[in-house]
C-alpha cells in the first residue's frame, strides 16, 4: 500500500505500535524491576538456595513432563494423522470428528472423574499420571495439524511407494516422515510449550513438592503475609522460571509461530 511512503501515517503507525508495546512490556519490565527493588540481585541467589523451593527440580520436572508428553504426542499424532489422511477404512471420517470434538473439552470440566481414575490406577502423584492426561488433552490439535499436513502431500507418493512394494508402514516411515520435518517440529514445540504452561493438571494430580513443575512450584514461594523482600524474591523466582520458556521460544520461534497459527489458518 502506498500510504506508507508518506511521513504522517508512518509516525501514526509507529506511535500506535510503540504505545501498545509499552503496555505489553510494562508487566515484564516491572517484574524485573521489582525482583531487585528490595534486596537487590541477591534475591536471585536467595531463590536458587531457597529452603522449600528447588528451582532446578521445578525446571527439571517441567522439562520431564513437557518433553515426555511432546514425544508421545508427536508419535501418536503423526501415526493418526497419516491414517486419517491417507488410508481408507470404515468409520474414518466419523472417528476423526469424534476425536476432534475433544478440542472443545476443558480440562476443568472433567477434573473429578480424571482425579478418581488416575487415583484408582495408582498413578496419583506420579509423573506418568500427569503425562497421560497431558497427552490426551493436547494431542487433538496436533492430530489436526498432522492430518492437514499429510493432506497437502500428493497421493501419487503413496501409489509410487506401493508399486515399489512398500507396505503402509514403510510408506509412512520412509516416504512421508522425511517430508514432514517442519510439521513434526511444529507440533513437537507446540506440545512442549502447552505442557510446560499447564497448571491445572499437575495441581490436581501431584502432591509431593519435589515433583512440582514450575507452574505449580510458584506456590512454594508464596505465603499469606509476605514481606516486601519476599515479594521481590517471588518476582525473581517468576523471572527465573520464565527463562527456560524464553529460551525455548527464541530457539524455536519459527516453529512455534507457525505451529500456533497452523491449527487456525488451514481451512
Amino acid at each position: 500500500m502506498n500510504g506508507t511512503k508518506r511521513v504522517g501515517p508512518r509516525i501514526a503507525m509507529y506511535a500506535t505500535l510503540t504505545f501498545l508495546a509499552a503496555i505489553w512490556l510494562y508487566p515484564i519490565g516491572l517484574a524485573i524491576y521489582k525482583s531487585v527493588s528490595v534486596g537487590g540481585w541477591g534475591n536471585y541467589a536467595a531463590v536458587l538456595n531457597h529452603r522449600t523451593f528447588s528451582y532446578w527440580a521445578a525446571v527439571g520436572n517441567s522439562f520431564l513432563l513437557a518433553g515426555a508428553s511432546a514425544i508421545v504426542i508427536v508419535l501418536i499424532a503423526s501415526l493418526g494423522g497419516y491414517a486419517f489422511s491417507k488410508l481408507q477404512f470404515p468409520g474414518r471420517t466419523a472417528i476423526y470428528y469424534v476425536l476432534l470434538a475433544c478440542l472443545a473439552v476443558p480440562v476443568a470440566s472433567v477434573v473429578t472423574p480424571l482425579f478418581f481414575t488416575v487415583n484408582n490406577l495408582g498413578l496419583r502423584d506420579s509423573y506418568t499420571g500427569v503425562i497421560v492426561p497431558l497427552v490426551a488433552f493436547n494431542v487433538m490439535i496436533m492430530l489436526m495439524i498432522m492430518k492437514n499436513h499429510f493432506d497437502s502431500l500428493p497421493d501419487e507418493l503413496i501409489e509410487a511407494a506401493k508399486l515399489d512394494g512398500s507396505n503402509s508402514f514403510g510408506t509412512f516411515w520412509r516416504i512421508l516422515v522425511p517430508l514432514s520435518g517442519s510439521s513434526l517440529a511444529n507440533i513437537g514445540v507446540l506440545s512442549f510449550v502447552y505442557a510446560w504452561n499447564e497448571y491445572l493438571l499437575p495441581t490436581l494430580l501431584l502432591t509431593s513438592p519435589e515433583r512440582f513443575p514450575v507452574t505449580q512450584a510458584i506456590s512454594l514461594l508464596e505465603s499469606d503475609r509476605m514481606s516486601q523482600e519476599q515479594i521481590s524474591q517471588l518476582y525473581a523466582g517468576l523471572i527465573l522460571m520464565t527463562v527456560p520458556s524464553i529460551l525455548v521460544y527464541l530457539a524455536s520461534q519459527r516453529f512455534l509461530q507457525a505451529g500456533v497459527t497452523a491449527g487456525a489458518v488451514k481451512s
Partner: protein, 289 residues
Amino acid sequence: MLRRGSPYFYILPIVVLAGGLIYYCIGFSAYASLTDWNGLTRMDFVGVANYADLIEDPTFWIALRNNLVFMAATIVIQAVLGLLIAVIAKERLPGSNVYKAIFFLPIAMAPAIIATVFKYMLEANYGTLNESLRALGLIGPDAVIQWLGKDLGIWSIILINVFQWMGFSMMTYYAGLMSIPDELYEAGMIDGAGWWRRLVSITIPSLRGTTSVLVILGIVGSLKTFDIVWLTTGGGPGVSTQFLNTFLVQTRADREAGYASAIGVVILVLAFALAMLQIRASNRERSIR
C-alpha cells in the same frame, strides 16, 4: 483387525490413550452428576437434584455471566487489536518484526506465571500499578483502586487474557493478510478508495474466514479459562469473579463431587453447543457467498 498394517493400528494409540480417556471422563461426569458423591467413596443416586440445585444457585449465574462477559470482551478486544497491529505490520515498517515478537512473547509464557505477576502488580495498596498511577499523579496520593475487587476484577482478568493471547490473533490475521491478493488493493486504489475505505471494504471482508476461526477459538478458549482466575482473584471477593471452571474446582474441593460433575456437564454442553452454532453460522455465510 489390528494386524500391523491395518489402518486401525495407526489410530489405536490416539483413540485409546486420548479419545478413550476423555470420553470415559465425560461419561463418568454425566453419571456422577446424577449422584450425591464426595469424590472418593459413598455415591448415592439422586436423579436430577444437582441440576435443580444448580439453576437455583446464584453463584452459578454469576459464573455464567462472568464467562459470557469475558468471552465477548476478549474476542472483540483481541480481534480489534490483533487486526490493527497485523495491518500495520503488513506495511513492512523497519522494526515491525521486533514489535511482532513483543506481542507474541506472552504466548510462550505460562499463564500461571503471568497471572501471578499481575496479581501482585494489581494489588490495591502496595501493587505497582496503583503506585505508578500515584507517582504519575493520575490518581490521588492516597487513592486505592481495587483492580481485583468485585467490580473491576472481571475486567482485570479480561486484561490478563488480552495480554496473553492478543499476539495469537495478530499472527493469525497477519497470515490471513498475506493471502489477500494485491490486485484487490490495486483495484481499490484505482477506484480512489482511501486507507480506511480499503480496510473496511477489502481487508475485513477478505479476513472473514480468519475472524470466524478466531471466534470459535475464543469461545472454546474462554470456557477453558481457569489459571488466570484461580491465581488472581480465586473467584472472589465473595463469588463476584467466579467463572464456571473455578466454581467447579471450588465445589469439588468442598467435597461436592456430584454437584461439581453437574457443573462440568453444563460446561461441556455449552462448549459443544456454542462451538457448533458458530461453525454452522460461518458455514452458512460461506455457502451464501
